[in-house]
Every structure is written in structure tokens, then in C-alpha cells.
């Protein structure tokens, strides 16, 4: 069959697969897919906060005069903003008794009101008792509180400082750090999408093999057309999904994030080019991995066989992802260049580069290189698919199964 006829047949199959997928209920789930990690994340943060609250460390008992305790509490309050999300050690005031040693022992052994440690001796000669060492977080906190309280006692602040703040967006240092994040997000997005879609196209093929539709297709059109049709249908489906996610995401960011889309770190190549590159690199990555998956999937006849076969490929994918992620933050390093040259990790490495460096020529070079590999892998995977999908083609016997002559 001539090439235009193969392309026409591939289009017929792609159109069927595309409409069947996009108009199905599962596509809605697919679209909602990115929300699940988000919801899960919020849930985990909530649970984490609750766990933190439940597991709050007991306070340190301060045996001191009320004045000294007030100074310590003021010092603690002044230090709280620099602690960020990590809670500072809590303090509890205890009036001094006649027998200090007995009071200390009683406080430390109390089960109804447990304490981490006991501080006595005042600000002049502070003495911490408890199951703590000098390197413990509690001991370090108490040291800071005492230092600050002494300073406050000597030089009370006149008035609270009012800092005038001017927001600057184009500073190189923070920008570079945030671009690394953009690169990493782009990489994860590409990796997860590619893996998800390659698995989806594989399940679809297995479904067709088990429902015997594949024989109807194989009798009517060349196997190459089936292979290309299936591959490109899923690509079109995923690009539709990405387009909808992008629009949805942009609307969300514009409405929810302060400063809108401008608040996000601008990639080095700029947003429009970055988006275009994400789409192109995703297509390349999907064609490379999807074709490999289809070639492998054609040899399996049940979903279980697919799982067994796809497991090592998925693991290899993870290794490639790890390899490409080493390039993030150091786009000109040897590792980054190696990841960009190796065809299967190249799209992942290059999208990180697009976030970090503004040059476009390496992308043109990489895309050309990836296109060569896409053509090569499509050809090889297509041949494997053709040979395996209906046990067609010349039979090939592996060396360990060769019959003696």
C-alpha cells in the first residue's frame, strides 16, 4: 500500500481512537487527574499539621521571677519570625520554692504536667536540667532566649522598626533559583504525562487484541497504519488534555495567585516559547516512549503480560528521569549535556534547560536530533509491532530457542 493510503488509513484509526477517548467518561477522569495529587497534597499537609499539633513537645519549666520570665517570653516572641515553620520551644513559668533541688526533681518527674527540662538560676547564671545535651534543639533555643532576654534587659528597643519594602522581579540570584524550580516542574510534568499516556495506549491495544477488533483492522489496512494511528490518536488526546489544563491552570493562577501569572518565575526563554517547547518536547518524548511501549505491547496478549513486560521499561524510564534531573540547576555540565544527547532523556533534559538558559539554538539542534531518533524508533517499533501483533512476518527464532540443524 502506498504511503498516502497508509496515512489515510492511519488517520481513520486515529480519528476513531481520538473521538472514542475524548468523548468517554474516562477522559474526564484523565482531565481531573492532576487535581488528585493537589488534593492529596493539601490533605497530607493538613494531616501533617494535625500530627504536629498532637505531637507538640512539652515546655521547658522556667523557675524565675515574673520579670525575668516576661523578658524570656519577649525574647521568644522576637525570635519567632525567623523560625519559619519550625515551632520554637514552649516556656512555662514556675515560682521558685525554698528547696530548689526538690522542686527541680518534682518538675522533671511530673507525669500530669510533663516538661522537657527545667531552667533556673535566672538570666545571670542560667542552669538547664533535663535529658538534653548542648546540641539539642531545646538547649539551643533556650540559649538564644536567654541571650536575647539579657540584651533586652540591657538595651530595651525604642520602637518597632518599620521596614520599607520595594519588590524587584529581575534580580539574578532569586530568579535563577526559581527557574530551577520551573525546570524541575516542567520535567516532572513531561515525565508523568509521557508515562501515563504510553501506558494508556498500551492498555488500548490490549483491549483491541482481546476484543478481536485488531483482526478487522489488520485485514483492512496495513499494520503500520494501525501502529501510527494508535500512537498519534493518543498524542492528539494528550495535547487536548494539556491545552485544557493550561487554560484551566492559567485561569486558576490569574484568579488565585497574588500578582496573577506574573507572579510565576518567568522561564529563561519566556513563557510563549517555553509552552511551545513543552508541547514539542512532550510530543517527542511521547513518540519515543509510546512507540517503544507499543512495540513491546504487541508481543503481549493479556493485561498481565503487559504489566510484566512494562515493569522493566517503567523502571528504565525512572532511571532516565533521574539522569535527566541531574541536569537541572547546572545546564552546561557534562551530565546535562549527556542527558540532552541520550535520545530517551533528551526531551526531559532540554525542557529544564529552556527554563534556565535563554539560548534557542541548542533546542533546534536537540529537536533535530530527537526527530532522527523518533523516525528510527518508529521504524523499529513498527517492525516489531507488525511482526508480533498477529504473529505475522518472517518468524524469528531467538538463539536460545534455535533448533539444531
Amino acid at each position: 500500500m502506498k504511503l498516502p493510503e497508509t496515512i489515510r488509513a492511519a488517520f481513520v484509526i486515529a480519528r476513531r481512537d481520538f473521538t472514542a477517548t475524548v468523548l468517554s467518561k474516562t477522559f474526564l477522569l484523565f482531565l481531573l487527574g492532576p487535581l488528585f495529587p493537589f488534593i492529596l497534597g493539601i490533605g497530607m499537609v493538613g494531616i501533617g499539621a494535625q500530627v504536629d499539633r498532637n505531637a507538640k513537645a512539652p515546655p521547658v519549666a522556667i523557675i524565675s521571677s515574673p520579670q525575668e520570665f516576661d523578658l524570656l517570653m519577649t525574647a521568644r516572641a522576637r525570635l519567632e519570625p525567623v523560625a519559619d515553620s519550625l515551632p520554637l520551644t514552649e516556656l512555662r513559668h514556675v515560682e521558685p520554692e525554698a528547696d530548689l533541688a526538690a522542686q527541680r526533681t518534682r518538675l522533671l518527674s511530673s507525669e500530669s504536667e510533663p516538661v522537657m527540662a527545667v531552667l533556673d538560676g535566672g538570666l545571670a547564671a542560667p542552669h538547664l536540667t533535663g535529658t538534653v545535651t548542648g546540641k539539642d534543639r531545646t538547649a539551643r533555643h533556650v540559649t538564644l532566649f536567654v541571650d536575647e532576654a539579657r540584651r533586652l534587659a540591657a538595651h530595651p528597643p525604642a520602637a518597632k522598626v518599620r521596614l520599607r519594602i520595594d519588590q524587584a522581579r529581575a534580580m539574578a540570584g532569586p530568579q535563577a533559583a526559581r527557574r530551577v524550580q520551573t525546570g524541575r516542574i516542567g520535567q516532572v510534568l513531561l515525565f508523568v504525562l509521557t508515562l501515563m499516556l504510553a501506558t494508556m495506549v498500551l492498555s488500548q491495544l490490549i483491549e483491541e487484541k482481546s476484543s478481536k477488533v485488531i483482526e478487522v483492522l489488520a485485514a483492512a489496512v496495513p499494520i503500520d497504519a494501525i501502529f501510527l494511528g494508535k500512537l498519534f490518536a493518543m498524542l492528539a488526546t494528550s495535547l487536548t488534555g494539556i491545552a485544557l489544563w493550561t487554560v484551566g491552570g492559567a485561569i486558576l493562577v490569574a484568579n488565585l495567585a497574588s500578582g496573577g501569572i506574573d507572579a510565576l518565575p518567568v522561564p529563561a526563554v519566556g513563557w510563549p516559547t517555553f509552552f511551545a517547547l513543552i508541547l514539542i518536547y512532550f510530543s517527542m518524548s511521547y513518540l519515543l516512549i509510546g512507540a517503544t511501549f507499543l512495540g513491546i505491547g504487541a508481543q503481549a496478549s493479556t493485561a498481565r503480560e503487559v504489566q510484566i513486560l512494562s515493569m522493566p521499561v517503567t523502571m528504565a524510564q525512572l532511571v532516565l528521569f533521574g539522569f535527566a534531573s541531574l541536569a537541572v540547576g547546572q545546564p552546561n555540565s557534562g551530565m546535562a549535556i549527556a542527558a540532552a544527547v541520550f535520545p530517551l532523556s533528551s526531551p526531559l533534559a532540554m525542557i529544564a534547560r529552556a527554563a534556565e538558559l535563554p539560548d534557542l539554538w541548542p533546542h533546534l539542534l536537540a529537536l533535530l536530533w530527537q526527530a532522527i531518533w523518533v523516525a528510527l524508533i518508529l521504524r523499529v517499533a513498527g517492525a516489531v509491532f507488525r511482526r508480533s501483533v498477529l504473529k505475522s512476518g518472517k518468524s524469528r527464532r531467538w538463539f536460545w530457542r534455535r533448533r539444531p540443524a
Binding site: 488509513a9 484509526i13 476513531r16 478481536k212 483482526e215 485485514a219 483492512a220 496495513p222 498477529l390 518468524s395
Partner: protein
């Protein structure tokens, strides 16, 4: 007259041809040197028990799988896929997308065979309407019964007006009424000049429909030719009832004659019916009834493929049946 001449001319050229087809799967030979010629415009049946290699032969002829060795051509093309738009195929294991509405399934099958989608949809609606199934059009395949789905797939096989239709076990799973409808459809297709090849393990269908048959047993073709030629391999069978138990007339019966339930059965001697009749009368047989029956395809099949193959297809040899 003109139609008859056209028909005879068509029979001279082959719509499908296979020469020494061999197919091995993992070293096991499923088809072992099958040759077959299907004249254009004919109805040809491929007979054989399950596992004989019928489906594998059809798949090779259609180009779905490649033969390990041997050659095949379809409508004059060595690469069957090149002529796929002129061929219709109904596989043994029916396959349709369960969620697809019937009309879309038909349109898809037409588009696969080269029809523009719009034209394919138009024909799909027309096909369903012409057979009184317009109410199926919007129903997803999964909501149709097995017979309905099979009808949809069969219509999808002819939506593009093919020159050659290949049906693999088309009668399997159909009730008697739908089997009759299918037989009529096959006759209608042949009437329009379409070549029909179908595989079956029910000899009665082949006997009613086919001009030519190929018998495949254990991966080998054991007969290929006209139905009459297959029947002609057997001599007509004589059924005789006499009043006399014994007498000189018994010498007129061949040694192979068997008595089944008071009736003698034997092959008509090569000399024909007249000398036999004379010898029976002269020998005092007292003929009660005498009939000469032309052998059916069933008997021919047993004679050609062997009793074992017939048994595998669920056909009991006549003698056993009578007993």
C-alpha cells in the same frame, strides 16, 4: 444469455489463488501446503473440522498474516492489503468496539476500506434501513444481542461494495432464521457478481450454497473442485427391498452390499442400472422398492476427508446413523 456468458467468463479467472501455502507457529505446522483456486463470481466453501487450518488459510490469503512459504494472490494482487478496499472480511471471532453506535461501527468499517466518512455514514444508514434495522443505528454495540452485533459486522463487511467477500464461519452463533437470511444474502451477492468464500464445518450450508468446495483436514487440502466433482467421486447408492429372502438374484448384488433394517444398500455397479434390474427380475427377487440415490456432499466429504474428520465436524456416517 449475456449474463450467463459473463458468468462463465468470470469463472475462468481466479479471484483468489493460493499455491502450497505453509504456516508454522512456534515450529508447529498449522497449514501444510494448501493450494486453492477461487474463480471470480463463484461461491466457494472451505470445509474442514475445527483446527483443520481453515482460518489460518483465510488469514494468509487476506494478508493478515504472512505464510511461512508458498504464494497467494487476491484479485490479481500478490500483496492482498493493496486490494483491501475491494475485499470484505468477516472474521470468525467477531470484533466490534462495544461503546460504538451501530451506525458509527458500520461507517468506521467502510472508512477503513477506503470510503470517505460522509459516504460511509450515508451507506450505513441506508444498509440498516434496507434491512429494517434503522432502530439499531444509535444503539451502542454492547446493547445489541450477539446475533444483532453479528448482523452489524456482516453489513460492515459489504458496506464498501467489495468484489470479494470472505466469511469465516459466518453461520456460527446464528439462529435458524438468521442463517436463512445469511444464505440469501450470500446468494444475492453472487447474483451481483461478487465472489464469496466462506469457511464452515456445517456441510449442509456448503451443499445448499456452493459451486465449489475445498476440503481441509489436518492442515492439508484433500480436495478442491466443483461440488458435483466431489459427489462424482462416489457411485450412486442403490436402496433395494425385496420380497424374496434368498435366491439366484443375490449374485447380482456386489460383495460390499449391506443390509440395514431389511433394506439392501450398495453402490450402483459400473455397468449401470439396467443390467442390475434385469438380473434382479430374472433371479426372482420380487422387487418391492428400488431407488437409486445420488450421493450427497456429506457422503462425499466422508469419502474424501475420512470418517475421523467427519466425526470431528459432528457428522455421523450414514450407516451408523441408520443403525
Amino acid at each position: 444469455m449475456l449474463r450467463q456468458a459473463q458468468h462463465e467468463r468470470n469463472l475462468e479467472c481466479a479471484a483468489a489463488e493460493a499455491r502450497d501455502l505453509v504456516k508454522e507457529f512456534d515450529g508447529k505446522r498449522a497449514v501444510d501446503g494448501v493450494s486453492l483456486t477461487v474463480p471470480e463470481g463463484s461461491i466457494t466453501g472451505i470445509l474442514g473440522p475445527n483446527g483443520a487450518g481453515k482460518t489460518t488459510c483465510l488469514r494468509m490469503m487476506l494478508g493478515i498474516i504472512d505464510p511461512t512459504s508458498g504464494t497467494r494472490s487476491l484479485l490479481g494482487h500478490d500483496r492482498p492489503i493493496e486490494i483491501a478496499h475491494q475485499v470484505g472480511y468477516l472474521p470468525e471471532e467477531r470484533g466490534l468496539y462495544p461503546a460504538m453506535p451501530a451506525v458509527e461501527a458500520l461507517a468506521f468499517m467502510g472508512a477503513l476500506r477506503g470510503l470517505p466518512l460522509r459516504e460511509s455514514r450515508r451507506r450505513a444508514i441506508e444498509l440498516l434501513r434496507s434491512r429494517g434495522h434503522e432502530d439499531w443505528a444509535r444503539r451502542p454495540i454492547r446493547t445489541l444481542s450477539k446475533g444483532m452485533a453479528q448482523t452489524v459486522q456482516l453489513l460492515g463487511t459489504i458496506i464498501h461494495h467489495p468484489r470479494l467477500v470472505v466469511l469465516d464461519e459466518p453461520f456460527a452463533g446464528l439462529d435458524a432464521i438468521n442463517q436463512e437470511k445469511l444464505e440469501q444474502l450470500i446468494r444475492d451477492l453472487a447474483e451481483e457478481g461478487v465472489t464469496v468464500i466462506f469457511s464452515t464445518h456445517v456441510i449442509a450450508h456448503a451443499e445448499r450454497l456452493c459451486e465449489r468446495i475445498a476440503i481441509i483436514a489436518e492442515g492439508r487440502s484433500v480436495f478442491e473442485g466443483a461440488v458435483d466433482e466431489a459427489r462424482g467421486r462416489l457411485r450412486p447408492i442403490v436402496h433395494l427391498r425385496t420380497r424374496a429372502e434368498d435366491g439366484p438374484w443375490r449374485t447380482a448384488l456386489p460383495q460390499s452390499a449391506k443390509q440395514v433394517g431389511g433394506e439392501w444398500r450398495f453402490e450402483l455397479p459400473p455397468s449401470g442400472p439396467e443390467p442390475l434390474l434385469k438380473a434382479l427380475i430374472d433371479g426372482g427377487a420380487g422387487i418391492e422398492t428400488l431407488s437409486i440415490e445420488r450421493p450427497g456432499l456429506h457422503d462425499a466429504f466422508i469419502a474424501i476427508a475420512g470418517e475421523a474428520a467427519a466425526r470431528e465436524m459432528g457428522h455421523v456416517p450414514a450407516a451408523e446413523e441408520a443403525a
